[in-house]
Symmetry: D2
Subunit: 98 residues, 4 copies
């Protein structure tokens, strides 16, 4: 099952500068070979369900290993059976109607 998610990982108990943790997650996603697009409040990720969620789990593990005692993450998850739709398709579909 193909999935598109939006991932926003928030480590707690490490102060206000979260970028080193987000950068570590980007590396996890890259090593997993997933297609990603970073934005200002999260990361779009596209791939097979099991691979995508294995990478999400790995992000939590890596952030804890970096010293964060607590992590709270928000994920949006989209699946569809009617047709294939890439991350670019979604953006182009909106822009075509503007």
């Amino acid at each position: 099952m193909k999935v598109m998610i939006d991932l926003c990982v928030v480590p707690l108990g490490v102060g206000v500068s979260l970028s080193p943790y987000i950068a570590a997650c980007q590396k996890v996603l890259e090593e997993a070979g997933l297609k990603t697009a970073l934005h200002s409040y999260g990361t779009n990720i596209e791939g097979e369900w099991d691979e995508v969620f294995a990478a999400v789990k790995r992000c939590h593990e890596v952030i804890h290993q970096m010293g964060a005692p607590r992590v709270t993450t928000t994920i949006k998850v989209g699946t569809r059976t009617d047709r294939l739709q890439s991350m670019e398709d979604k953006i182009n579909s909106v822009k075509a109607k503007m």
Copy 2:
């Protein structure tokens, strides 16, 4: 790794009445033996990471099997390494400060 999540599953292309789909998800979670608490905008779930996310995947599969061509889900995911904390602990911790 223990996890607490908040799951809000939204089937698209099936009209405005979503409760049959939410009820089907509740059954999936129950059959998975997970501890859950239904609220008005989602379901709190507590358990081992892999079991919890296997159930989330199963929810998407079941909703598609029920005929929904598209599903968009919002998940909040919490993990912590400093201490164990149950769903009740979190509520009691807030109430103790009120």
Copy 3:
């Protein structure tokens, strides 16, 4: 316009114990006279759009006043024009199908 929201406020830069901040938000919501239901990963709130979002803004202000330099919040927002539906209606609607 009536709205039902799910509010999850996360102060950053204040360590891992967030309950004093969540308790302060509960007080803000109470003083605003809003109908609320606390759960393990947020708070369901029901009311008029403007009153509900004024209270959400007040929560951010209060948390900053308590010393948190950064706040990241996740909100789910539901509106419908087809019929009135209370927080209890939504839960009962799911339970009736189980």
Copy 4:
């Protein structure tokens, strides 16, 4: 109070093609003079709290006027008092650590 949000609006009861509704929201945001960045699972928005949330309310109103009987939206909301940080700053901050 400056705010950065991520907005994901989902009309229900209108089938699976949501792009006309998302395009209408983009127009609302543009007319409000807000700085935005569309991505594959939402839109980043930056501005003053009251202006940003007035536009979010207007999005719900417009989508209902277009015929959607129900709307469910997910919003992430960030505020900080320690320093100003633009949408680009957040992305650059992560990229500098990669």
